[in-house]
């Protein structure tokens, strides 16, 4: 068993207060399910061109549209 670490009390308290302020409603189970699915994806999908119509005035980075 290695050394144990913890957040300093100042950081822990600041995070506790801040998080309860920004998360004022419970997350649904779907969040967890989506998160797990996302975590199994190793690389971002560079498939922008396949995602629908492309306006001719729009510029994509060259490799991003491949």
């Amino acid at each position: 068993m290695g050394k144990s670490f913890y957040l300093s009390s100042v950081s822990h308290n600041a995070l506790e207060r801040g998080l309860s302020s920004v998360f004022d409603s419970g997350a649904s189970a779907e969040h967890t399910i989506y998160h797990q699915a996302a975590a199994n994806t190793n690389s971002p999908p560079f498939n922008l061109a396949a995602r629908g119509s492309v306006d001719t005035n729009i510029t994509f980075a060259p490799h991003a549209a491949l």
Partner: protein, 177 residues
């Protein structure tokens, strides 16, 4: 029930996903992406004003977001010399997943990112740093490897350096004994 610590961890994972899976992305970059999504077809000067960023640093971040396919550029309606910016593709999907935790409110996601920026007190805090402290917050107490195992798409040596830097700055403390 999902705890606040777990939610924070999930949001950070979605932000990393929205930024090409790069945990070295700065929290500032995440803020810029969130701002572009909140203000579709916005211009760079407007982002600069809203987020109070310097032109040179914003230019670098916008170029990065464009090169990694997070945003697209479009000619302005009135002036083709001006470009409007819009989030797109995988970034949009991942950012929407992060926003789900805030009822779709960009202002709350901004507050979340600013919270970590304030706590981390670094010149350029990253999503990796945020993930480390969110994980430790959730676990209350853990050994280093247990925390670092929660980081994905990340080099172990970089993770280790980030963890040690957080110890040096006093955010993380070692348990006596």
């Amino acid at each position: 029930m999902t705890t606040d610590g777990q939610k924070a961890s999930y949001v950070i994972d979605h932000l990393i996903e929205a930024l090409a899976g790069d945990p070295s992305s700065s929290l500032r970059r995440a803020l810029i992406l969130n701002d572009i999504d909140e203000h579709p077809a916005t211009m760079q000067a407007e982002i600069m004003e809203r987020l109070q960023l310097h032109k040179s640093s914003l230019n670098r971040e916008i170029d990065w977001l464009f090169n990694y396919g997070c945003i697209m550029r479009q000619d302005g309606k009135d002036d083709a010399r001006t470009k409007t910016l819009q989030i797109c593709g995988y970034s949009k999907k991942a950012l929407d997943a992060a926003l789900d935790y805030f009822e779709g409110k960009h202002e709350k996601l901004k507050g979340f990112v600013n919270l970590f920026t304030r706590i981390l007190k670094q010149e350029k805090p990253t999503l990796r740093d945020a993930k480390i402290i969110a994980t430790l917050y959730e676990k209350k107490e853990a050994d280093k490897q247990d925390v670092l195992d929660h980081l994905v798409n990340s080099a172990p040596s970089t993770d280790n350096r980030a963890f040690n830097r957080l110890i040096e700055t006093g955010l993380i403390e070692e348990k006596d004994g």
